[in-house]
């Protein structure tokens, strides 16, 4: 490719983003060149600031610009329930729901021996310390419903069970508002397993 160096550097940077291939990267790079100077500056600042000012909350591991994060600092929330999730994006999904009033713990991953990720590589030790220090009555395990997420939930529940803290696992089954006939077999049979009395 015969691009001047500043452009090829910019293209390289864009390619590092998820979902962006070489062609899109070139398009974006040329778009940036034609943007107003102020907009470009603001864009660059936002990038740098997002990285510089955000840290992980020392209590729950969620991304935050103040430590501890706003959720951990909020005294009106139920202190006795902690919801364990894999990813900061999961916290945001839960918060959008506006139904859950407890606290969170973000693991940043799931246990996967294949990828060399053990319990100590995700935020599990911090969680165990929290359970010792705080008065927690229930731990909701909301890891993803796949093999690694399931194994992580089972692992945590085994460590925590002896302490007498109630551990629960979120249900999986049919999406609300969906049609039964369009559900795949696996989901349907999970939904059947998790049926309850009315």
């Amino acid at each position: 490719m015969y691009y001047p160096e500043p452009i090829s550097k910019l293209v390289d940077s864009f390619t590092k983003l998820p979902g962006i291939g070489p062609k899109t990267a070139v398009r974006l790079a040329f778009f940036v060149i034609n943007m107003k100077d102020d907009d470009v500056l603001e864009f660059a600042n936002s990038l740098v600031n997002a990285k510089r000012e955000l840290t992980h909350c020392s209590v729950c591991g969620h991304i935050t610009d103040q430590d501890p994060c706003s959720i951990c600092q909020d005294d009106t929330r139920n202190q006795s329930v902690i919801c364990v999730v894999q990813d900061p994006k999961d916290v945001i999904a839960m918060e959008k729901m506006k139904e859950f009033n407890g606290k969170y713990h973000v693991l940043h991953g799931a246990i996967s021996p294949m990828d060399g990720i053990g319990p100590e590589d995700i935020n599990v030790p911090d969680l165990l310390n929290r359970l010792k220090d705080e008065e927690v009555e229930e731990l909701i395990l909301a890891t993803n419903p796949n093999i690694e997420g399931e194994a992580t939930a089972m692992y945590i529940s085994r460590l925590v069970k002896p302490s007498g803290i109630r551990t629960t696992r979120i249900a999986h089954g049919l999406p609300v508002g969906g049609d039964l006939e369009y559900a795949d077999e696996v989901t349907l049979s999970k939904a059947l397993e998790g049926r309850r009395d009315l």
């Binding site: 053990g118 319990p119 093999i147 194994a151 089972m154 692992y155 460590l159 795949d184 696996v186």
Partner: protein, 370 residues
């Protein structure tokens, strides 16, 4: 069910092919290395989304092409629908009714195929993985949910083996994680075993009378499932889980020492007996052939009873491997009811009504003339 039409694009030695088939017997004739097996393989891939000959899918794409496409029009229960497999250097797509199916278990089972090729004669005398593959493929096509459990089992197995390796080298010492993975493994292992037992009972039911017939009523076939645990075949899932659990507890130290999972469906086997003798060890070549043939023919009836339609039968170059008596037994079984594809280098010496009525296809280096 049957295939009305098959289209190939950049598939092995076929650049562009469009064939319509007879719903009874289709005879594919050609010299060696002209593309007879490739044609059979294409139908197999259309059913299972993978080849019986190679795990490397890129081999299916014609030399210097970007992608290969197999398209079939299937008639099943008076319905007519297209199936499509597209293999490119980036990956594979399976389409049912023009809609891409992300899960293999949503695709497999749409088209049922029974293939009998020379390498199937090794079903009896070959290594155990050939027999495990046989159970998995055949069970999978009548019960797509089995494929899901098999996939899950293999994933957990991989995780567990990695952990055992780490524990072997003392990188990890925490037994809790191992117990979690053991529980996960057992859940899927028990499901697989329970379903395999049911399948085996069906296979016995259909294979025994066929074997009796082919052997001129001289031989009795028995099939035994050899599991890595002591369990009776009528045990339910909970019972199987309990047995696995106690066995896993018993061998835990040994598994850590060896750094791998030592028991489970991935190490099971089938044993065939003829007149109470193990065919693999003590059977003659002829008995091994008869057994393989009986098992394959049993599948036709088995699928008919489970699915409600006869599968498509692919006989790739096997007629020449069978003697006259077995040949005519085979051809009598399929007569009129099963859409069959027979590939052979020549029809000389095969005088059977079924083949005389067959539709002829002559294959010559990537082209087919009817």
């Amino acid at each position: 069910m049957h295939i009305q039409q098959l289209k190939l694009k950049n598939y092995r030695n076929y650049g562009d092919l469009d064939l319509s088939f007879d719903d009874k017997v289709n005879l594919i004739i050609g010299e060696n290395a002209q593309g007879k097996t490739n044609l059979m393989e294409a139908i197999y891939v259309l059913a299972f989304s993978k080849s019986h000959r190679t795990p490397r899918e890129k081999e299916l794409i014609q030399w210097e092409q970007e992608y290969a496409k197999i398209e079939g029009r299937i008639t099943k229960r008076n319905q007519n629908f297209p199936l499509e497999i597209i293999i490119s250097t980036k990956g594979k797509k399976a389409k049912l009714n023009r809609i891409e199916q992300k899960r293999l278990s949503d695709y497999i089972g749409a088209l049922n195929v029974v293939m009998f090729a020379p390498e199937d004669l090794t079903l009896v005398k070959g290594p155990p993985q050939i027999r495990r593959r046989f159970i998995d493929m055949e069970l999978g096509q009548i019960q797509p949910r089995y494929i899901y459990h098999l996939g899950q089992y293999q994933k957990v197995l991989k995780q567990r083996n990695h952990l055992l390796k780490q524990m072997q080298r003392n990188v990890k010492t925490d037994p809790t994680m191992l117990n979690v993975l053991t529980d996960q493994l057992i859940e899927h292992a028990a499901t697989l075993l329970e379903r395999r037992f049911v399948f085996l009972e069906l296979l016995r039911k259909w294979a025994r009378p066929i074997h009796h017939g082919i052997s001129r009523e001289l031989e009795e076939l028995e099939i035994k499932y050899h599991a890595t645990i002591e369990v009776s075949e009528d045990a339910n899932k909970e019972k199987i889980e309990t047995i696995y659990l106690s066995k896993f507890n018993e061998i835990q130290e040994k598994e850590i020492e060896r750094g791998t999972t030592l028991i489970g469906p991935h190490r099971d086997d089938l044993i065939f007996f003829v007149n109470n003798k193990d065919v693999q060890t003590f059977g003659s070549q002829g008995q091994q052939r008869t057994t393989a043939l009986s098992i394959k023919l049993a599948e036709i009836d088995l699928i008919y009873n489970e699915v409600g339609e006869y599968p498509i039968l692919l006989l790739d170059d096997v007629l020449s491997e069978l003697d006259d008596y077995r040949q005519s037994h085979l051809l009598n079984t399929i007569q009129g009811k099963v859409q069959t594809f027979v590939s052979t280098t020549s029809v000389d010496g095969i005088n059977h009504e079924t083949l005389k009525k067959a539709e002829l296809f002559r294959v010559n280096s990537g082209t087919v003339v009817t």
